[in-house]
Subunit: 344 residues, 2 copies
Amino acid sequence: MSQDKQKRTPLATLGEFGLIDHITKDFKNTNQETILGVGDDAAIMDYKDQIVVTTDLLTEGIHFDLVYTPLKHLGYKCVAVNVSDIYAMNATPKQITVSVALSSRFGVEDVEELYAGIKLACDYYNVDLVGGDTTSSLTGMTISVTAIGTAKADKIVKRSGAKKNNLICVTGDLGAAYLGLQILEREKAVYDKDINEQPQLSEYQYLLQRQLRPDARKDIIEELEKANIIPSSMMDISDGLSSELKHICKQSGVGCHIYMDKLPIKQDTMAAANEMNIDPVIAALNGGEDYELLFTVNIDEYDKVIAIEGVSVIGNIVEDVNQQYIITPQNQSIELKAQGWVAM
Amino acid sequence: MSQDKQKRTPLATLGEFGLIDHITKDFKNTNQETILGVGDDAAIMDYKDQIVVTTDLLTEGIHFDLVYTPLKHLGYKCVAVNVSDIYAMNATPKQITVSVALSSRFGVEDVEELYAGIKLACDYYNVDLVGGDTTSSLTGMTISVTAIGTAKADKIVKRSGAKKNNLICVTGDLGAAYLGLQILEREKAVYDKDINEQPQLSEYQYLLQRQLRPDARKDIIEELEKANIIPSSMMDISDGLSSELKHICKQSGVGCHIYMDKLPIKQDTMAAANEMNIDPVIAALNGGEDYELLFTVNIDEYDKVIAIEGVSVIGNIVEDVNQQYIITPQNQSIELKAQGWVAM
C-alpha cells in the first residue's frame, strides 16, 4: 500500500495541450494503417480489410482501487482489456485512443506513470496511440479506451457461430484474477485498521499479477492462425466463464455441457481459495477478469487445438439451448448461472 | 431549473445487459459500412475509403451541469460535438460508440432521456450506434463518445495545410454559446439563493440553444462538396476562435490577419454581452463551444465560398508565423492570444 508521499506537479502547470504533448511525445506510430495520429480533429487510418472497434470505460472505485493498483499497471491493464476484445474477434489490434479524466488530486507524475503503462502495452501489442482526451473531473479518475483492429472478413469470429458438437475451449487458467482481488481487499482491510501493518502479498504473486496486470491472449490468436483454425465462435472472459458461455449459447441458439474436472484452475488459485474459504470452481466460473479466450471449434480440429499450449477443451456444444450445464465428476448436471461478481 | 420530482427506477433492476438491450432497442443500423453493431466483443465495419476517428470525454460538473442541462439535450450534444470533429476533417460520420458511467442517483428514466437525445442526433447525422459500455461510478455522470467517419484520401482536410494568402473563413456566428452559459450560470445563482425565483430565460432562447443543444455543420460540408471546394485546412471551433486559429497557424507554419469588424456576431449575442458587461469580441474570440467550422481556402475561391450561406471571410493567412493578429477598425494590430475560458 503506497504511502503517497511523492512529489506532485499540478496538472494545470502544463495545461491541456502541454499535457497531451508531454505524455504522447514518446509514442511513435508504427502500423502502416495509421496515416495520422494525435494532433488534429481526428486520427486518419487506411484499412484494406474489415475493421473491428471496441470501447471500455473504467471508473475509480468501481473498476480499480488506487490504494493497491499502481498507475503503471492500471495503464497497461486498460489497454490489455481492450485489445483482448479485438483478439476475441480473431482480429489484430492496430490503434487505440485513450481519454482520461482526472481530479486535482492527481499530478503530472501520476499521468506519466499511467502513460508509461499504456506505452508498455502499446509496444507489446503493437498498437498505435492515435488520439484521446485529457480533461478534469470533480472526483477521481475515469479512463476510456477505444481499440481498433482488423481482419479479413472471412476470419472474423463472432459469438453467434457455435454449432452442435463443437468443442468448447478455454485458454490459460481461470479464477486467479478473482482470488487476486480477494487477497488485495483482505490486505487493504488489514491496512485500513492499522497503517503500520505491512501487507502479506509475496506468496500471492501470480494471483496479484493476474488481477493487476492481465495480458490479452495475443499468443493464442497467433497459434490459431498458424494451426489454420478459425473458431466457430469466440469471446474473451471478462465477466466470468459462466456468463460468457451463456452469451455464446444465447447468440448461437445452442446449449453446452462443460465438465467440472476439465476446468483449468492453477494450484495457486486452489490454495488461496482454500485459505479464504472460497470454492475454486465458483471462482473459475464466475470470478471474471481473467481475460482468457473462450471459443468453440469443430470436433475434427480436436488434435490441432489440444496441440496448442495453453488451450483446454472443457466440454461440448449441444443442440438444446435450454441445456446449459456443468457436469460434476459424479455425473450430476448443474445449470450454469450467469452470476458475475463484477459490479455493473 | 428542474424540481427533480420524477419517478426513478433503479438501474440495478435491469442489470447491465438488460439496460444495454433496453436503451439500444430503438437504434437501427442504416449505414452500409456497419456490418455488426452492438452485442459482440467488438463492432465490425467495412470501409472502402480512409477512416477518421475522434473521441471525447465529458464529465459532470466540468463539461455539463445537470441543474440546467436537460439529459436529452446532453445526449444530443455529446454526439454533435464528436461528429463536429469528423466534419472538421471534411469527412462523413458513420458510426459512434457511447459509454456512460452513472452513479446510483440516476435511474432508468434518466438513461432513457439521455439515449433519446443520442438517438435524435444519430438520426439527424445519419450515424449508427455500434457499441459502448454502461457502468457504475461512485459520483456523477461521465460520457465518452468515439465517432468514426470516412472520406476519400484526397478530400480529407487537416489543420496543417493553410498557405500564405489563403482566405480565413468561419461558419455561422460566434460567442453565442458562451453567452448562453453565462446566462444559465447567472440564473442558477439566483435560483440557488431563492428556489421560488423563476429563471428568466425566454428572451435568451437562441443563446441557450447554442449552449445546450449545438449542432455540427453537416450542411456546410455538403455545400463545400457541391461547390467543389476542398479547404486547405480546417478545424471545428470548440475552444474558441483564437485558440483554434493559433493551432492552424502553428501546424501550418503560417501567420494570420483577421479583422475585428468581420467577426460574425449575432444581435442576440451583442445584446446579452452588453447586458452582462462582457466584450462581445472577446466572447467571439475566446468563448468556445460554438462548434462552427474554421477553414482556409485559396483566394481564387472567394466568389464560390461567399456564395455559401453562413460562411464569413474574416481575414487571410500571412507568411510569418509570428504575425497572428486581429486588426481593429482603427487599423491597430493586436496579438491573438489563446486564452480559452473552457476548463481543462
